[in-house]
Symmetry: C2
């Protein structure tokens, strides 16, 4: 049991993909799913336990008892309600030590990883299990950005870097030089839905989504899927620019098919 | 007619207040209202003309013909559709000279003011006509922020400064150290409505709204009204922090009454 992979399951479909990839490598998994955050479907067919996010002591005990050493974070863990965070003794000890450093999402995740390593766990990158899914550099589908779109990408990149430096969000939408919307806690899908109503006439905007400069790569890489592409098409965007080497594609073939069908571009760019 | 005040009427109720203040000073006005942006009510009872935002030549000709030298911008002019911006010959000349500098709202407004001054107009600050309405420093109503709210204000200020430096927006909402939402083109009311659904349990967040560091004070000062306060209360916020000396209060008595009724604070802070 010592080589069981512990999957710390957050929101979305990423945990299922990690579990499938581990199985494809004949690696047994143990799923620790966060209550109120993980999709109940992720634990089906796998040994698992549910814990509150604040129950750090209980979570670590369960992982140790199940012979887990290697851990992987899969799926976003946006900050939940205070009730979910209500700390057990172990989490309280952690909060007391981390204190105000844990303000943003990233700061909190980095601190959590340090804490887990102090307890003898090894925190792996989700990329290790989804090797083929990082965005490459360059155009992914049939459509490429024109000069106006390149200019919007540059403006979006500038804005996204500033947001990321402050640990606020990963994504912005820019149309004709104007920042239509900025992502904070609501997530990229809500940003795109809002921008559908904010768009100006004329050439559509672009979504720029990059990792935060101090982002903990083992915890929360930017992710896009075919649903992101469909939402961008619905919002009247002309394309999506993502950070090459640091964005998970779920999955690439579906993303390219959706982009080509919607006649928008998806491009991997150097962001930092 | 030489002392007619030209009111360039954008969105909202500010143009009406400026017109009323000018009348109280026995100053005749001429209202140049922007099509699709100004409220039709602002031209009632005043000599006026409607122009497309892109019809700069026509607008200047009308102002000159009506003996206007002094101008005041009243009400926000968010970037409209390309059709509204379709330049006449005078605007085209301006666009050609300004070029890519006109990317953000502020850059555009600064360039427009320079252009108007080159044509012999004098652009006054709206403050000159609404002297009593700038936010003072300190608590405005019966409620004051506690230490946790002060901490959220500091985090919001940091985020709002970064947004302002990039000419993206003026406002952010922060709850328990987490940036819930960031304003871009959608405006503060839409930001507050969104944050009502994004709020976490526990102590509510704060709205921080400040001017952009290079903001052209004669064109687009941050503004709050009793409606802003009511929206903040509805979103579960604990208070509003605005920039002392650079925020228009429309109007102060109504804002204080709404804040006290909703048991939230409104505080003027030093922001830059």
């Amino acid at each position: 049991m010592a080589d069981r992979l512990g999957v710390l399951a957050g929101a979305g479909e990423l945990p299922l993909r990690v579990i499938a990839a581990a199985r494809a490598q004949a690696r047994p998994v143990f799923v620790l799913a966060f209550e109120g955050i993980a999709d109940p479907a992720v634990v089906e067919g796998s040994p698992h336990a549910w814990v509150r996010l604040g129950a750090a002591g209980e979570g670590m005990r369960i992982l140790h008892e199940n012979g887990v050493v290697d851990l992987v974070f899969a799926g976003a863990v946006r900050r939940p309600t205070l009730a979910d965070l209500r700390p057990d003794w172990r989490a309280a000890k952690f909060y007391a030590r981390v204190g105000l450093k844990a303000l943003g999402d990233d700061g909190l995740l980095r601190a959590v990883i340090g804490e887990l390593e102090g307890e003898g766990f090894r925190v792996l990158s989700v990329e290790a299990f989804l090797g083929d899914t990082l965005a490459p550099k360059g155009v992914l589908g049939a459509v490429a950005p024109d000069a106006a779109a390149e200019s919007d990408i540059a403006r979006g990149l500038e804005a996204a870097r500033a947001l990321g430096a402050l640990d606020i969000g990963q994504a912005v939408v820019v149309q004709q030089g104007l920042v239509l919307g900025v992502e904070a806690i609501e997530g990229t899908d809500a940003l795109l839905a809002r921008c559908a109503t904010l768009r100006r006439e004329g050439p559509g905007g672009v979504l720029v989504k990059i990792s935060k400069p101090r982002q903990e790569r083992r915890a929360d890489l930017p992710t896009i899927g075919a649903g992101t592409v469909a939402a961008a098409v619905a919002a009247g965007l002309r394309g999506i620019a993502i950070e090459a080497g640091s964005t998970l594609l779920l999955d690439r073939a579906a993303i390219v098919a959706a982009a080509d069908a919607g006649k928008i571009f998806v491009i991997g760019i150097a962001a930092q």
